[in-house]
């Protein structure tokens, strides 16, 4: 088994009572995208939460999750270095746009203000530092969420239907932006989606999950 990338080795999610919810066995190489597809309730998002370490208490998981050779299963969520984007971009509403970006910057990075401004410039939001996130358009929010995640220097990216709330033209641009950035940073990407077009744009392996009962 490859040492790099994100490996889900026989990952199984069970209900507390022992029923199997979902199972997946795959490996996402750096710079590639694997898409998880399937009907609602099949446990796609739950698989992502097992990887981030935010699995709800009514579930348990078995199998081994490794990222670049590190075993994640026992690690606290904040030690896993796995970034995630949700369909609601979930900017922190009490912080400014700049503070949201800054939340991603690791502690100890100096000259934070310059880095935040540069990051906003990169996504075409120059001068938005002090803006209220609530005043941003959907596309702008998506870009801030992406940049916030990237600045935290994740080693893998999880996407939980991040494009489904955007309208069609924005969706194409946002997909391209996310996949380009992930490829440029040589990160493995695991994407949960309902949209065949997402998977086509990603161009990688597609895993169809089916209801286990």
């Amino acid at each position: 088994m490859a040492e790099t990338g994100l490996c889900l080795d026989n990952l199984q999610i069970h209900h507390r009572d022992g029923r199997l919810l979902a199972a997946v066995n795959t490996q996402v190489a750096p710079g590639t995208v694997v898409s998880l597809m399937g009907p609602s309730g099949v446990g796609k998002s739950t698989i992502l939460s097992a990887i981030t370490g935010a699995l709800a208490p009514e579930f348990t998981c078995s199998g081994v999750i490794t990222l670049n050779g590190r075993k994640l299963n026992e690690l606290a969520p904040q030690k896993r270095r796995v970034g995630i984007l949700f369909q609601d971009h979930l900017l922190f509403p009490h912080l400014s746009v700049g503070q949201n970006i800054g939340f991603g910057l690791p502690p100890g990075v100096d000259d934070r203000a310059t880095k935040i401004d540069a990051a906003l410039y990169e996504i075409g939001l120059e001068g938005f530092t002090n803006r209220d996130p609530d005043t941003l358009s959907g596309g702008q929010r998506a870009r801030v969420a992406l940049m916030r995640m990237l600045l935290a220097e994740p080693e893998a990216i999880l996407l939980d239907e991040p494009f489904s709330r955007l309208d069609a033209t924005l969706r194409d641009r946002m997909r391209k932006l996310v996949f380009d950035r992930a490829r440029a940073a040589n990160l493995p990407v695991l994407m949960v989606t309902h949209d065949k077009a997402d998977a086509d744009a990603a161009g990688g392996e597609v895993i169809e999950l089916t209801l286990s009962d």
């Binding site: 981030t52 609530d134 005043t135």
Partner: protein
């Protein structure tokens, strides 16, 4: 099988245990301190041994059966009418503009301490009260106050009215908090499409779910109505008074030998409340049975007129609003009144004399009251936030048992265990100073702070925490940097509720300080028997103002802090 790392609770499991101890410790001690003296323990003479003398003393007191009957009668009738009014108001008016307006008027009344509301009602309905002045002499023909016993009438009608006016808004707001979880619109549409009349559909489909959500608050109202002293002292009968006032008189009597029969009476009060709640519970069952029978028959009652029930609900709510607000206004007028002869509707002169006479003392007492309220609320807030965060860290919510413990201080009659607490504190020479009072306030503040905060805290989008964690934020970081700041508005509301509860406490303050700590509520009630309306006006106005300003602050502060954060203002 591997368990995810989030279930590691760390030291967080301790906080719920501390909270339970804070709630149950004093209650258990108080019950013990009531139980022992009632059966001959802890006698002042130093003797000990089982004895039924306290019971004999208690039961031989003239008029005691009447007292017991009054407590049951006023408690049950006021609770039943308040509940009926609340149900009919929601059934008939929910979703209308009238309802919105009433909700806006009634919400602030909730924060008003019982003592202030009771005194306000007395100001309105007394023979020389504002209502009589407004109607005289043109409607009544009275040139002087009629010789009628309206306030403190022997039947307890004024007391019932006062309790309804105060408890209807409480039940209404508890119901409104519960309604969104029920999905009223969907249920109603289904039922009406099947041909059921509106009221009938509501009674069959919404009410059972709603009642299930407000059952514990209803029990709390019933217990309070049966055993309160603050409203009963002002509006209740005097010869004999309700059982709780009887107990209070004995407990505050210079003759310490009366503590033992008071303890026996307190146990009786507890048994009365327990038995009444049990009977009430059987009543719920009987209703459910009748409802099931009617569901099984499938009667639609599509043509039923609901105008009568709508009118009843509306009048009752209007009564509550008018009496309490009218009482407040007349207290304000009295505090500035110079000469005010009956039957003039307004004083012939206004002045600041009452304020200069009582204002400074009221200010001193305000500082003590606020100190107590802030301290008790902060302690409660820390414990509640700790319990709620412990739920997150340990991945399990407070169960049914926890909810019952939380409601225990609200359902258990104060008069049943506070006297025992006083007896114990006296025994150990600890019935002085601030600390016992503070602890007793925390017992009653904490459940309300929890009930106010639990919903918003649990509803917080956990994915925000996940995002922060994936960016390297620890669980503590998520709590301090994201969850708590985002919950600023509900936290401030919970603080305001906690402070209002503390400010309104009468019996805990009186009992645990041995009468040596004066708050705005104890002072206002101490004045109530004197009948100096100008003094009462000043004190109750200061009391109500202090119960209200924290709510104003809770509305304004988030608007200032988040003025550039719209997502938190209308989110």
């Amino acid at each position: 099988m591997l368990r995810n790392k989030t279930n590691n609770g760390g030291g967080w499991g301790l906080i719920p245990l501390i909270t339970i101890a804070v709630l149950l410790g004093p209650i258990a001690a108080g019950l013990l301190g009531t139980l022992l003296p009632a059966f001959g323990g802890m006698r002042l003479t130093g003797e000990s041994g089982f004895s039924l003398t306290p019971w004999a003393m208690f039961l031989s007191e003239p008029g005691i059966e009447m007292s017991i009957w009054l407590s049951v009668k006023t408690g049950v009738i006021s609770t039943a009418i308040a509940l009926l009014g609340c149900i009919l108001l929601i059934a008939g008016w929910h979703g209308t503009r009238v309802f919105k307006a009433l909700e806006r008027v009634l919400s602030p009344l909730l924060a008003m301490p019982h003592a202030a509301a009771a005194l306000g009602l007395a100001f309105m309905i007394a023979p020389s009260g504002w209502a009589s002045r407004l109607l005289s002499p043109w409607a009544t023909g009275w040139e002087r106050p009629p010789d009628l016993l309206i306030v403190q009438d022997p039947q307890g009608i004024a007391l019932i009215a006062g309790l309804i006016a105060k408890e209807l808004p409480f039940l209404l707001l508890m119901s409104l908090a519960a309604l969104p979880q029920i999905g009223v619109r969907g249920r109603m549409q289904v039922a009406q499409s099947l041909g059921y009349g509106k009221t009938r559909a509501w009674l069959l489909l919404v009410l059972p779910a709603l009642y299930g959500q407000i059952r514990l608050p209803v029990y709390a109202v019933l217990a309070y109505a049966m055993s309160n002293v603050d409203v009963a002292m002002v509006l209740g009968p005097t010869t004999p008074p309700t059982l709780s006032v009887f107990i209070l008189q004995w407990m505050t009597d210079p003759d310490l030998a009366l503590r033992a029969p008071a303890a026996a009476a307190a146990l009786t009060q507890l048994a009365l409340v327990a038995a009444t709640i049990l009977i009430w519970f059987s009543g719920e069952r009987a209703f459910a049975w009748l409802r099931n029978r009617s569901v099984n028959k499938g009667a639609r009652a599509a043509g039923t007129r609901d105008s009568v029930s709508r009118l009843f609900g509306l009048s009752l709510a209007s009564f509550a609003a008018i009496t309490i607000i009218g009482g407040l206004i007349s207290q304000a007028i009295w505090s500035f009144a110079g000469r005010w002869r009956f039957p003039e509707a307004l004083p012939s002169s206004f002045g600041l004399r009452s304020w200069s006479r009582h204002g400074w003392e009221a200010l001193d007492v305000t500082l003590v009251t606020l100190g107590l309220a802030i301290a008790a609320t902060l302690i409660a807030l820390v414990l509640v936030l700790g319990c709620l965060e412990a739920e997150v860290r340990r991945g399990q919510n407070l169960g049914r048992g926890g909810m019952i413990i939380l409601y225990l201080p609200l359902i258990l009659p104060q008069i049943a265990f506070l006297p025992g607490l006083q007896i114990l504190l006296l025994q150990f020479g600890a019935a002085q100073g601030f600390t016992p009072v503070l602890i007793s306030h925390v017992i009653f503040v904490l459940p309300y702070v929890f009930l106010a905060l639990a919903g918003p805290f649990r509803a917080w989008d956990a994915r925000i925490g996940t995002i922060a964690a994936t960016m390297g934020s620890s669980a503590d970081g998520v709590l301090w940097r994201l969850r708590l700041p985002m919950l600023l508005a509900p936290i401030l509301t919970a603080v305001a509720i906690g402070m209002a509860v503390s400010i309104g406490q009468f019996l805990p303050t009186l009992m645990t300080s041995g009468g040596r700590v004066a708050t705005l509520t104890t002072e206002a009630l101490a004045l109530s028997s004197g009948g100096d309306r100008r003094a009462i006006g000043v004190w109750t106005l200061v009391l109500t103002a202090n119960a209200w300003w924290p709510f104003a602050a809770a509305l304004i502060i988030p608007r200032l802090v988040f003025r550039n954060r719209k997502g938190l203002l209308h989110g």
